[in-house]
Amino acid sequence: MQDSAATSLHKAQRLRRNASRFLLAALAFAALALGTACSFGESPGNSSGDQPDGLAFDKTQVNLGSMDLDSRGFITFLAINYGGLPVTVGPVEVETVQGESAGKSVQGGTERVNPMDAYPVRIAVGPFNKLGPHRIRASIASSDPTAKATVVTANFTVVEGPGPQVKGPRLRVDKQSIDIGTVPYNWPLYEQFTLRNDGDAPLVLAATPTVRIELGC
């Protein structure tokens, strides 16, 4: 059953094809694949909870644990339009609060987000120049008067990467963990890991990544 719970790379390819915009309904449907112990399938907009009436984000803070000095990846904050009118999201201003200059917005200008649509705001991080704790803060502007400038933060510690390369394919993941703390009930969650091959031979992923539920559900 865990195999069926895996998030497939096919979804990654599909996400790329669909660029950066997708329906919340599709998001909820995709959640069906995540775990059998969790009875997914309910649209985020269909049940009672803490939903706002307007623009919201899946999270406003995230702890990424440790990241390698030479790693490159993304931190993603999902902007969700629960309102009845289209809104624009952006621009995004990123600043480094602790550590050395560590992140920059991938988004150039503004993006239109229709009602019940979601848009992933991506912040590129790495490679880094300094070891130790880092904290970046981003201000995400929008045309929603209730969320004119949403501040989001990310914490992580930069550590030495792996030793000298040896021959063969080498899988690298941009971050080892994602901890978003406490979230409201009835809240869609979206995360992204970036994989790359640091080796000198083709990397082949064996089957679909497997998701194991270690706590909860």
Binding site: A6, T7, L9, K11, A12, L15, R16, L27, A28, A30, A31, L34, C38, S39, F40, E42, S43, P44, S47, G49, D50, G65, F74, V166, G168, P169, R170, L171, V173, I178, D179, I180, G181, T182, V183, P184, Y185, N186, P188, L189, Y190, E191, Q192, T194, L195, R196, G199, L203, V204, L205, A206, A207, P209, T210, V211, R212, I213, L215, G216, C217
Partner: protein, 45 residues
């Protein structure tokens, strides 16, 4: 290459959650690389 994860919620899902994602490859040094996703759902009112 990006590995996206989506998650919805259901009633009674309050409390801490942790998922481990195992990525298997032909990397002979680390054939299975595991990453973690943690969050804590505020209980249903």
């Amino acid at each position: 290459m990006e590995l996206p994860l989506f998650m919805g919620m259901h009633e009674g899902m309050g409390g801490p959650h942790q998922f481990a994602i195992d990525i298997r490859s032909n990397d002979s040094l680390v054939p299975v690389r595991s990453v973690a996703w943690r969050f804590n759902v505020r209980d249903t009112p």
